[in-house]
């Protein structure tokens, strides 16, 4: 691996993003963004809808190349990796997709077993026990033989979570992990995320909107808005709302630096009300 692909990074930083700039469909998503994600910690990425949180995760995992900037994951510059090197890196990353992305022709068991079957030659009994252990952790051991179309949205998310953690990866990215979970499942998943972090030292990135849930597990939060890192700090610090961004975001107000309305022409003019009284 050449020098450009591997850069010296302090041991406590797993992901280093420098000068990240992205324009999608004419809209600036990131404008020279810098951020460091610490190793072995749970970092939450929050922000208004459509602000580029999932896009950032796609950059970090090499699914989408940025227009400019560099992204180092475990010392490797993702932007410059070839396909084989990228796949080698991804073997150490678990990714929970927003829409679960389960393989619809496979049962719950086979979905969780899929990464193991593809990359390891484990004896069937070991593989079975490993998969059942992960399914037990997400509370779905009894659903091992069900097909994805027989599951609710929340159950599908939990299966996808089991699949993401089945190889005990170095990094897990959870994209909207709490959507569709009932309070019991939510509580158990939060405990699982914390346990994985504490016992195995797995670095976790949480992309979510549920502030109460994030506050319980996250060590720090990045608030992305307007193509920049609008705020960064511990959950308690950000919740105090000391900047206009954090104040609006954490209080949920419509008025503030983050517009609630998507850019649109004048409301009255669009409804044909302009000059109606004249």
């Amino acid at each position: 691996m050449n020098e450009e692909q591997r850069a010296p990074i302090a041991d406590d930083v797993l992901i280093r993003v420098r000068g990240l700039s992205t324009v999608l469909n004419g809209k600036t998503i990131f404008d020279k963004v810098d951020l460091d994600i610490p190793r072995g910690k749970i970092t939450a990425v929050m922000g208004p809808s459509g602000t580029g949180k999932t896009t950032l995760m796609r950059h970090i995992t090499g699914q989408l190349a940025p227009d400019a900037g560099e992204i180092f994951v475990d010392g490797q510059n993702v932007v410059r990796l070839d396909r084989a090197q990228l796949f080698a890196l991804r073997e150490k990353v678990g990714y929970l997709f927003q829409n679960s992305a389960l393989l619809t022709d496979f049962s719950v068991f086979e979905n969780v077993a899929f990464p193991l079957r593809q990359h390891l030659s484990l004896p069937e009994v070991v593989l079975r026990n490993l998969v059942l252990t992960k399914l037990q952790a997400v509370g779905l051991r009894g659903a091992a033989d069900l097909m994805p179309h027989e599951l609710s949205g929340g159950m599908m998310r939990r299966v996808a979570l089991a699949r993401a953690i089945v190889r005990d990866p170095m990094l897990i990215i959870y994209d909207e992990p709490f959507v569709g979970l009932d309070p019991i499942a939510l509580n158990q998943i939060l405990k699982l995320i914390r346990t994985l972090n504490e016992t195995l030292g797995i670095t976790s990135i949480l992309v979510a909107h549920e502030l109460a849930a994030i506050s319980r597990v996250a060590d720090s939060i990045f608030l992305i808005a307007g193509g920049k890192i609008a705020a960064h700090g511990k959950p308690a610090e950000l919740e105090r709302g000391e900047t206009p961004w954090t104040k609006q975001f954490f209080s949920g107000e419509a008025d503030g630096p983050v517009p609630f309305q998507y850019p649109a022409p004048d409301y009255a003019a669009q409804l044909g009300l302009t000059g109606a009284r004249a």
């Binding site: 991804r90 393989l103 619809t104 899929f114 990464p115």
Partner: protein
């Protein structure tokens, strides 16, 4: 002057052909890696081959019966009904077998390949595989491509067999042509290498082009319901045109 390029069917078409050619190279490069997914390839051969048998056998039988009926009528004008077996078999081996099988294959298996891969794309299953460091070209596309290459000539052979059986049914059993004449004229005038094997080569080529188009359309579809619907339609249209055009080119070279 506007910087936005005006849409052009010609340039877009050439770009599509170029992209499809590059996709073929990527599939071929992925074939060695797909060999470790041998079970998936076997499953796909069953899906595109065995599952297409009903439509291929039914259509082969009826095409053979119609050929027998029409050609018996035409040949009887010249008193040449004894040549029925020869004419039917040559028509099937050289042209109708490979071409009609390919058209049926595009409608039955090609559309389902496109829809399946398109839905996998739309529901992020392809992205999920990439994130699990599993190459979708090796796991999803290449097995289907190999299956098409293997299944198409086998299906064409079944089509030919049922076609000849249908012509025999009409010519011999129904219209009273002599059984010995039917078979002996056929076996004496059909050349295995020139007629049968050339037809098989055509089938292999049609299998490649139909499966390439089906997988390409599915893999590159817009991740929407409408996108998958359009991609499925394009598979049938482009496969049919490509099959008939390639048939002309191959016939010109193989004659």
């Amino acid at each position: 002057m506007s910087a936005v390029r005006k849409p052009s069917y010609l340039t877009d078409g050439i770009a599509q052909i170029g992209a499809c050619s590059l996709f073929l190279l990527r599939i071929l490069a992925a074939v060695p890696r797909s060999l470790r997914h041998f079970r998936e390839t076997v499953r796909q051969i069953w899906f595109v081959g065995a599952m297409s048998l009903t439509i291929i056998m039914t259509c082969g039988l009826f095409v053979g019966m119609v050929l027998g009926l029409q050609l018996y009528y035409v040949l009887s004008i010249f008193g040449g009904t004894a040549a029925l077996g020869t004419v039917v078999s040559l028509s099937l081996y050289r042209e109708l077998g490979p071409v009609v099988t390919a058209l049926l294959f595009a409608g039955r298996a090609g559309t389902s390949i496109t829809a399946e891969i398109g839905l996998m794309r739309a529901t992020d299953q392809i992205s999920a595989m990439e994130m699990m460091a599993v190459d979708p070209l090796a796991y999803v596309v290449a097995p289907r491509f190999i299956a098409g290459l293997i299944a198409m000539p086998l299906l064409a052979c079944v089509f030919n067999a049922l076609g000849i059986f249908g012509a025999h049914l009409v010519g011999v059993s129904w219209l009273g042509l002599d059984n010995g004449t039917f078979w002996s004229n056929m076996t004496s005038s059909v050349d295995v290498w020139k007629d049968v094997v050339n037809g098989v080569w055509k089938s292999v080529a049609f299998g490649a082009i139909c499966t390439l188009i089906a997988t390409f359309q599915g893999y590159t579809t817009a991740p929407t319901s409408e996108g998958v619907a359009y991609a499925t339609t394009r598979t049938v249209v482009f496969s049919s045109i490509a099959t008939l055009a390639l048939d002309f080119v191959m016939t010109a070279f193989l004659m």
